[in-house]
Symmetry: C2
Subunit: 244 residues, 2 copies
């Protein structure tokens, strides 16, 4: 078991099970256990909601009780939106998955229990767990959809397991243009602006500095400088043509 | 604008819009903008999927184009699962919401663009944005449901805005029992075990220490010690009754 195992206790809607499978696959999880799905299993509707995460649904294991579904695991989290008065450690999703990562790295099997859509986990099911996970929701609107709860745990697992690696990063931008090219560009702008008497004589130094500031902030590459210089030249020459 | 604004560009399914509203409300967001919803608006199906987040749906503002929907904002993120060859900074959800938080704290309006269910944002829409957000998904299964993408951004916003505060924490456990009470409990266990000749004479010291170790790890409270002592006494007295 190289990943945490997602355990749904008496899920009702096949669509939700499908969306759980999709959320798991989005973040690299695949071990799904179902405890007595209310409407039987397999069930129409799950596959289309899984949107391609068929391998998760087809690999799902069925159990009669939560107790049987966690029997082979070494550490179990129970998710709940409500305080249950059980003396267990309470985690947010991120520290929970840090704990899961450390335990799985040392060879332990880790599972996460999710309750029924309407009523969550029963207290007796929560008492099977080593720790509680809850979500940093707005207390005025705390009811997470089942697949959303699974998504957040899967997301935090993946972030911990991969160091938050994104599928792509910022484009390698070309290096900033050599300063000589940039200063020559500034000279060019100022010469074109001088040609149309843009600057009042007494304000010219400060206005020119402000203009340079704007272009400095852009961190222009060589290509950027050529593009802008070409655009300004085109406008200036258009004007010269009109002025003939 | 005290929170980031969620902007859905040409969303197709009313159910998805409803689930977006629910995900936003779960994490304290409420400003929703809709750009040309494919099937019109308002639309049946959104309310039931919103599962009570009616205020978000009813406050949603309609726009014809993404350009109009971001006109009054100071900084805009575009979400995408695919690299677009645009020289923009790429964020994961957590650093994106750190950036949003800093900008909103300084009075800026911040929006997040989400694209169509099937095809995402067009390149021209992405070019309206200041930066890109993408998700740390499994590259083999990278297509997030629309509401799931909104959920992750809302979750990271709320974590940043509240310092990850959970709706409840670990139960304040009662303090560990006084050591005198614990040592007296150990003595009691050992006396009961001596009474049934549990320990082979030569192993007694090490076995007793191991037993003490187990109970030490539990960090028992006064109530815990009374509970366990009572349970052991009941078993021992039951045996004595049988042995009469």
């Amino acid at each position: 078991m190289l990943h945490p195992i997602i355990i749904l206790v008496e899920p009702q809607l096949a669509e939700n099970i499908g969306m759980v499978a999709r959320a798991m696959a989005n973040f690299g999880l695949s071990d799904l256990r179902l405890v007595s799905p209310r409407n039987g299993w397999p069930k129409k509707g799950a596959h289309s909601a899984a949107s391609g995460a068929t391998h998760v649904l087809e690999g799902a294991k069925l159990y009669d009780t939560a107790r049987e579904a966690i029997a082979d695991l070494n550490y179990v989290f129970a998710t709940t939106a409500r305080e249950r008065g059980q003396m267990k450690r309470v985690f947010g999703p991120e520290p929970a998955m840090a704990e899961a990562h450390a335990r799985i790295a040392s060879g332990q099997g880790v599972g996460i229990l999710f309750g029924r859509e309407r009523t969550g986990l029963e207290n007796d099911e929560i008492s099977l767990a080593d720790a509680i996970v809850t979500f940093p929701v707005d207390p005025k609107f705390s009811s997470l959809n089942l697949a959303q709860a699974v998504l957040l745990m899967s997301y935090e697992w993946q972030r911990r397991a991969t160091g938050g690696a994104l599928p792509f990063g910022s484009e390698q931008s070309t290096p900033p243009a050599p300063r000589e090219m940039l200063v020559s560009f500034f000279d060019y702008i100022e010469s074109e602006l001088d040609a149309v008497n843009f600057y009042p004589e007494d304000k010219k130094p400060i206005m020119a500095r402000n203009m340079r500031d704007i272009f400095h902030r852009l961190q222009l590459s060589e290509q950027d400088v050529r593009t802008l210089r070409g655009a300004i030249r085109a406008i200036a020459e258009g004007r010269r043509l009109r002025n003939r």
